[in-house]
Symmetry: C2
Subunit: 358 residues, 2 copies
Amino acid sequence: MSIVLRAAGAFALLATLAQPAAAQPSSAPPAAGNAAPGLQPGPLSIARQGSFFVGGRDTRSDTLSNEAAFGSSGTVSVDQMYVRYQIPAEAGAHRPVVFVHGCCLTGKTWETTPDGRMGWDEYFVRRGHPTYVVDQSWRGRSAANPAPINGVRAGRAGPETLPPVVVAGREDAWAIFRFGRRHPEVFPGMMFPLDAQGEFWKQMVPDWNYSAPSPNPTPSHLSTLARQLDGTVLVSHSQSGIYPFQSATMSRDGIAGIVAIEPASCPAADGNMTPYAGLPILVLWGDFVNESTRWAPRLAGCTAFMRAANAAGGKVEQVMLADVGMPGNSHMLMQDRNSLQVADWLAGWIARNVGDRR
Amino acid sequence: MSIVLRAAGAFALLATLAQPAAAQPSSAPPAAGNAAPGLQPGPLSIARQGSFFVGGRDTRSDTLSNEAAFGSSGTVSVDQMYVRYQIPAEAGAHRPVVFVHGCCLTGKTWETTPDGRMGWDEYFVRRGHPTYVVDQSWRGRSAANPAPINGVRAGRAGPETLPPVVVAGREDAWAIFRFGRRHPEVFPGMMFPLDAQGEFWKQMVPDWNYSAPSPNPTPSHLSTLARQLDGTVLVSHSQSGIYPFQSATMSRDGIAGIVAIEPASCPAADGNMTPYAGLPILVLWGDFVNESTRWAPRLAGCTAFMRAANAAGGKVEQVMLADVGMPGNSHMLMQDRNSLQVADWLAGWIARNVGDRR
């Protein structure tokens, strides 16, 4: 508990550094610094930043619109993956890190937390890592294809052809995010900032994953991005957990390491382990996992994968944060109250196991 | 023409400063500087950055999902507006600027251009302005509500109840964006980087605007954001053109100026002009407007609005970029090859007409 309490002071300072400007006049001066290890204090110095797309496929349709103001026929681009990046001025040889969100969410996952603290997108930049945040294909700023909906509305196809578009209700999501066993119960000592939960639920968007092409385009795009970055750590979360493993199966080029945060699944333990041989892989979990009927089997599956991979020359490590001094983390550990403490630990793992660029 | 030619040298340098990192090793050094007036050279120094939501409304549904893995009943948040911001270390008294994209697009509009040059989101920060980029309600990272689609798929409602979700085909969009009179014709001297048009089409996402509540939530959220920023310039584009005017009608609090870039509409000239009295307002247009059957009437409508507003104590100015030395701009002038030259001109207009914070 002492680690948590000591860290709380640093977090209070960090909060002043990263509060949404809407909460205070934008002319307010930045905080002078803070006590978190590894953090560059004061203003953030960026060498380059911007956004771009990876991939994309042209498709024609005659049901783009039923509105008079827009033509119904034409070509649109789908499957592309939006990426926003920041490269610190003092990147040195630190590895780029690619952050991939989970179900029903977008890259917002890694930005300012619901209670207004600095997100991992900025924190890893401050620690010297070029940082890349994606919206998975068919999510957020990465276009889905709604043309089939307009086709059904126009009577050109039956309702059974409608694309599935899931949106997660908070009552069911509560247990999935392991805030508690069931809504609205709370696990004792659980670290998610529930006071700001309303801001978290706003992060959830329509999830077209069941409508996207199969195989899903995102793993291939992550492979392309990794090759372009020439040595990156792919960090997944939850629903995207399997994607970096699938990318590694396509090609190891550019993949320097994989961090699977609370993955919905790991590769099957009876599969081919060759793609993972010698690759530093971390499977990272918060707390209360074995108290969740949803997550306990997934943890067990990842344990089986770890053993199979390591028996075949793998370098897979599975870590429960509670075992390294950080109890209480939820499924959304990158937004939990100790999120920057977890980030420090993760950055240390990357430094020790993946290392800098050669 | 000499202005354009002189500027071209600066743009070449800027391009090296802001290319997508995917196009080059991320350890490449930033450019040493550039020749564009007003631009802070070298690394960008950020006092604070992050993202947050404005507004949002809880709604319950029993058709959130038809997939077994997700519950069908529960509460979701819709209508909220995603905002990403950066505050320069040397903001001084420069006004915050809020950028609002147009139809079928997201805040990506203002980020890295399709051909990899710096977006206005960063350029205005480099010029000292705190910068806020939104995704309109029901677009991109601002959640739409797909529950009615699942309801029809489940047979609980008829196809006529399906929400309209428009996606713009590039062949029709070509003339709307005024790349030429019709696809694939090109206006002579037109400045959009057509060599990179494929990257531009990837920016287009499903547009739920016809499904969103009426009145649309975004103008109210812009009003809230302006109040929080305590004196900002609201910059709209195209479909969002009327929104800042609607915000000003709700309240003038926090609105220091309005820049309507190629607005789909201005307020009706026979309406109440009181909300605009004394407020610095710029209506800004690219080239070829009167060669477009779509845009010529909208220009005429804005001219009528300008006259009516100014007769009632308004400070409305309408500018054709070709009249101030910048011919050839398309509807997407923030991405045109002279985009930073246009930005410099616009920053000058803001400085002269809105001025700094008191």
